[in-house]
């Protein structure tokens, strides 16, 4: 039994916006795998909820005219993993969200909820950072698009304007970000399922036509700081370079210039820094391999 004051159900985006404006204190609930857990813990006891779970228009993956890959915010992790467009254009994202919790959680949990929750450990987040995703928000003033690194403001806080009745309606991956890129995600956990990431690392590369050079490389982490983050130093270091073991080594060490993991009882800073380097190396090597490159 949950301690909730009221539950409002929206059947459409318009209704959701109207409900948000009418109940500014209310919490949006989608799959509920985060919100209900928080309520059970007493953190949101007595909350008003606006459920957007039945807005089917926010489900599914589509390819827009300009090649943008659009993931509806209510698309569940398991649907993303199995989606043919995701498998074709951005399999790294499909794999990353398949690392969430358990099959049951992946069936109920949504990518919109995962990002709106604002936590650094979200399995979707590092890959979305690495693919330069755009967050689409819809409110009373229409649609607003925010790059994901601006969407995350601080731990637990994202840029959604409740006062404008905003809800997240989609996550967009630009064509430029996924075209001819190949990537890999490693979730580091203390066990192999039912796990929250100790550290998550997502890398993708685009090789030159002759596959001899890394044209472009992206790397992002979850849990390497209060919000997910890219590593510009390492990315710059890899751009235009030949994929060699020496490069992988230098690239992986370079991430330490950008990341800032913290000490907690879950894992020490030294431990997180250590595995961050190893994960960067393995992710880059695997990405190059998937791109058809050969490592000298």
């Amino acid at each position: 039994m949950y301690d909730m004051k009221a539950l409002y159900e929206a059947a459409s985006v318009e209704e959701a916006i109207a409900l948000r404006l009418a109940h500014p204190e209310a919490q949006i609930i989608a799959g509920g795998s985060d919100v209900l857990v928080q309520m059970r813990e007493g953190r949101r006891a007595g909350a008003e909820l606006i459920s957007i779970y039945s807005i089917d228009a926010l489900r599914g993956v589509t390819l827009e005219e300009d090649g943008t890959l659009r993931v509806g915010s209510l698309t569940s992790f398991s649907h993303i993993t199995r989606d043919p467009l995701i498998q074709k254009y951005c399999p790294t994202l499909g794999y990353a969200v398949d690392q969430v919790g358990s099959p049951q959680i992946r069936n109920i949990g949504t990518i919109g909820g995962n990002t709106c929750n604002g936590v650094t450990s979200a399995d979707s987040a590092s890959t979305l950072f690495a693919f330069e995703a755009i967050i689409e928000l819809t409110g009373k003033n229409g649609v607003r698009r925010v790059p994901i690194h601006e969407f995350y403001i601080k731990a637990g806080t994202v840029d959604i304007r409740a006062g404008e009745g905003e809800i997240q309606t989609g996550i967009l991956i630009p064509r430029e970000s996924y075209e001819r890129t190949f990537g890999h995600y490693i979730k580091y956990g203390m066990r192999n399922a039912m796990e929250i990431a100790t550290l998550g690392c997502s890398v993708n590369v685009r090789l030159s036509e002759d596959r001899q050079t890394i044209e472009r490389c992206r790397i992002a982490y979850g849990v390497a700081g209060p919000v997910p983050m890219r590593c510009p130093t390492a990315e710059a270091l890899a751009a235009g370079q030949k994929p060699t073991e020496a490069l992988f080594e230098a690239f992986s060490k370079a991430v330490l210039k950008d990341i800032n993991p913290r000490d907690s009882w879950r894992a020490s800073k030294a431990f997180r820094r250590h595995i961050a380097v190893e994960m960067a190396r393995r992710c880059l090597a695997e990405s190059v391999k998937r791109a058809g490159g050969e490592t000298a």
Partner: protein, 769 residues
């Protein structure tokens, strides 16, 4: 004969459980029951100065708040042990239903009673508690130091009990020239059982008595404890145990039955329910004791163990519960597992400001086995011997007799199990092959054995009572006090009863799964891996009595001589020509409705068991250690057990699988963590407490050596707990084999592995590039 002992028949409750028809306590709660929710102290050690209940009592739906200031002050003991006629051998009575003296973070200090769950939770949040803080201590050895915080007034230096044993002359023996000394401190963590069904119960009054329906392993013992806690005659209390979703020893203890019964009394007998959350289960039920064990072994260069010193420091937590019984059992394994002519053992059980250690699958043996088997591998390494060879040389021989219990090692069980396990996993070949690994990812193989026995005789009473009724359709209804807790006991009983009475199939036995202390013959419950072995005696005795009565009645009604009749596959058979003269159904109906000599054929008896039995085995583990990633992957794990004759091989295998799974978590991922600054638990939930999942398991491989146990009428002995005992040290020894790094504490999770590999120079600090 296909449906009796020795066959993997389908569990008697399998279909009901799969279909959700079995009733657990929560399925039986009366709709008008009040919700009692417990306020847990947010201090590790303090006195409660005051509790302001006004705001809570003003919440709609909150009926009443009861606090520690109103609770009865008669202390009681909670351990699920048989009552002892010797006052000196009883469990420590140090518990109240609610406490003013808070002894661990989570101690029970008040109860909010409400019409519904939400109001109860709101009530808890509205309570205002004032504490007088006291210094606290979390470590057992620190709690023994002079000046340490005093946790119970009666208990000086917090040492609840200590015991020792000695053989030979240790001090003289270690002077022998040429001995190699191998010393280590081995440390096991505080872990929790994590049975699927959290503990809970409900109580109501009827006829001037209190009935408690509870998720317990030990209904008859709980009856006595609730009566003692309430200060009422034992007959005033009735305990009902329906199906339960596992216990693993946590429910071999009075958990919230006394509190629930007391709240019910205070509410004028209205039904009251207490349901633990998972968070409560982790810290306010029971845990497995963290035990730190110090071993010094002295060996001759040929590997002979000549002298040994063992010290055990057990962290009891805030209340005595099973207390020193667990530590004493752990200590008791050392003289037997690797018999050594000059051995000194000392053990201490110490109060600390942590959750309470109780019974948990293995009862001290996962801890003892970890230390003993780590040390044995350390000895092998020091001498340059193979870990298998040093065990074969020193482990308990065939014919060994333990003077205290009278247990005899009738067969060369250990060596047979190790031989089988080594063959299954390819031990010798892999030892050679893995020695060549030198890269970042290295493979290793390890083994460990364990000592175990069956039941609690001669330390405590062992008794089993049984009732059998011949039904009018020729089936038999059977009742006993040895409880089904998910392990399949009812199925084993049905198989044994069918065999003893002479029924056609185990399906002709209706085992009454629910124990009700008003109805069920007195038994002790499910613990100490005793059920199949102990119930076997009373099933044999009672089944024999029922047979006699059936044959006597059949003789009278058929005119045949008793000595010429037998019961075979549910028929009364004339021995001379094997002719079936009537079925059990025909006999039962004739006997029941006979106007001159009506009989309801039943039998009931008690068997006092004055035996125990060794039950041994081993684990082989193969690991892959990814050094840069600080990760152990378990590639293969094999358990081999000699638990005597198998009553139901598929159930036995399932029992072993469950134990192996617990051992994997124990070795690699599980431990309860506490904030050193406050004593607050950090991870009492299933996200942060890393119970191993099946994604962390390889295929669980099992094998049995079936040496029949001569003391048991069915040739059987313990299997409930043994599978949980040797897995963790086998994994540790495999990691040692892979990396050369001896890790003396579990779990070997990535954090610990990172620290240990760094210390060993296999991992270097990351300097900024």
């Amino acid at each position: 004969m296909d449906h009796k002992v020795g066959i993997s028949v389908t569990c008697v409750d399998a279909y009901d459980k799969a279909a959700g028809r079995t009733k657990y306590y929560e399925d039986l709660v009366p709709p008008d029951a009040l919700y009692a929710r417990i306020y847990h102290a947010e201090r590790a050690h303090a006195y409660v100065k005051s509790i302001d209940t006004a705001a809570a009592e003003a919440i709609p739906g909150v009926v009443r708040v009861l606090t520690c200031f109103e609770a009865p002050q008669q202390p009681f003991a909670t351990a699920g042990h048989p009552w002892s006629l010797d006052p000196g051998h009883r469990d420590v009575a140090d518990r109240l239903v609610l406490n003013q003296h808070v002894r661990y973070w989570g101690d029970d200090i008040a109860v909010v009673i409400a019409e519904n769950e939400v109001a109860a939770q709101q009530g808890l949040r509205a309570l205002k508690v004032e504490y007088e803080d006291l210094p606290f201590v979390l470590d057992a050895q620190k709690a023994m130091e002079p000046g340490a915080p005093q946790i119970h007034d009666w208990c000086k230096n917090n040492i609840i009990d200590q015991s020792s044993s000695s053989d030979g002359d240790y001090d003289a023996a270690i002077k022998e020239p040429g001995l190699v000394k191998v010393e280590g401190w081995y440390e096991t963590p505080m872990v929790q059982h994590c049975h699927i069904e959290n503990h809970g119960c409900f109580a109501y009054a009827e006829g001037g008595r209190v009935t408690v329906v509870t998720s317990t392993q030990i209904p008859h013992i709980i009856r006595r404890i609730v009566a003692q806690a309430l200060g009422r005659p034992w007959g005033d209390i009735r305990i009902v145990k329906p199906y339960i979703g596992g216990g693993f020893g946590n429910k071999q203890d009075a958990l919230y039955e006394p509190l629930c019964a007391w709240v019910c009394e205070k509410m004028g007998g209205r039904p009251v329910r207490i349901d633990c959350t998972r968070e409560e289960t982790f810290i306010t039920n029971r845990v497995r004791h963290a035990i730190r064990i110090h071993i010094i072994s002295w060996l001759r260069p040929d590997g002979t163990l000549t002298a040994r010193k063992v010290e055990l420091f057990s962290n009891q937590g805030a209340y005595a519960s099973h207390g020193h019984s667990v530590t004493a059992k752990a200590m008791g394994s050392f003289p037997q597992h690797y018999p050594c002519p000059n051995l000194v053992c000392n053990s201490y059980t110490v109060y600390t400001n942590r959750p309470v250690g109780g019974a948990m699958r293995g009862y001290g043996m996962p801890q003892a086995s970890f230390a003993d088997e780590c040390n044995m591998d350390d000895c092998a390494k020091a001498l340059g011997m193979s870990p298998l060879a040093i065990r074969v040389k020193n482990i308990m021989p065939k014919g060994f007799v333990d003077g205290f219990s009278g247990n005899v090692n009738y067969d060369d069980t250990y060596r047979e199990c190790m031989k089988k396990g080594a063959e299954m996993i390819g031990y010798e070949e892999k030892l050679k092959e893995f020695a060549l690994d030198s890269g970042p990812v290295r493979r290793g193989i390890g083994l460990a054995t364990f000592w175990y026995n069956t039941g609690v005789y001669p330390i405590s009473l062992e008794t089993s009572s049984n009732r059998m009724l011949l039904n009018l359709d020729g089936t038999v209804t059977m009742q006993c006090g040895e409880t089904e807790i998910g392990q399949g006991a009812d199925t084993a009983y049905a198989q044994m009863t069918a065999e003893v009475v002479g029924l056609k199939s185990y399906k002709d036995v209706h085992v009454v799964s629910c124990q009700d202390t008003d109805i069920t013959p007195t038994g002790l419950g499910a613990y100490a891996s005793r059920q199949t072995y102990m119930a076997g005696f009373s099933i044999k005795k009672t089944g024999g009595l029922l047979r006699e009565k059936i044959i006597k009645s059949a003789a009278m009604r058929s005119g045949q001589a008793e000595s010429n009749l037998d019961i075979v596959d549910g028929e009364i058979v004339r021995k001379i020509d094997g002719k079936a003269i009537m079925s059990l159904a025909e006999l039962a109906v004739q006997a029941q409705y006979d106007k001159v000599h009506s009989e309801h054929i039943t039998a009931e008896s008690t068997f006092t068991i004055r035996n125990n039995a060794f039950s041994f085995g081993c684990t082989f583990a193969e690991v892959e250690v990814d050094i840069p990633m600080s990760k152990v992957t378990l590639k293969r794990i094999v358990n081999v057990h000699d638990c005597g004759r198998l009553i139901n091989p598929a159930l036995a295998e399932a029992q072993v699988h469950g134990g192996m799974s617990m051992a994997i978590g124990y070795g690699l991922s599980e431990q309860l963590l506490f904030d050193e600054k406050t004593g607050k638990p950090l991870n009492n939930n299933l996200l942060d407490y890393k119970l191993s999942t099946f994604m962390d398991h390889p295929r669980l491989e099992t094998a049995f050596i079936e040496n029949p146990e001569p003391t048991s009428p069915f040739g059987t002995k313990a299997l409930g707990e043994p599978p949980a005992c040797s897995g963790a040290p086998a994994i540790r020894n495999a990691v040692l084999n892979a990396t050369g790094v001896a890790i003396n504490a579990i779990p070997i999770d990535p954090k610990r592995l990172f620290a240990e590999l760094s210390k060993a120079g296999l991992i270097h600090d990351e300097k900024e590039g």
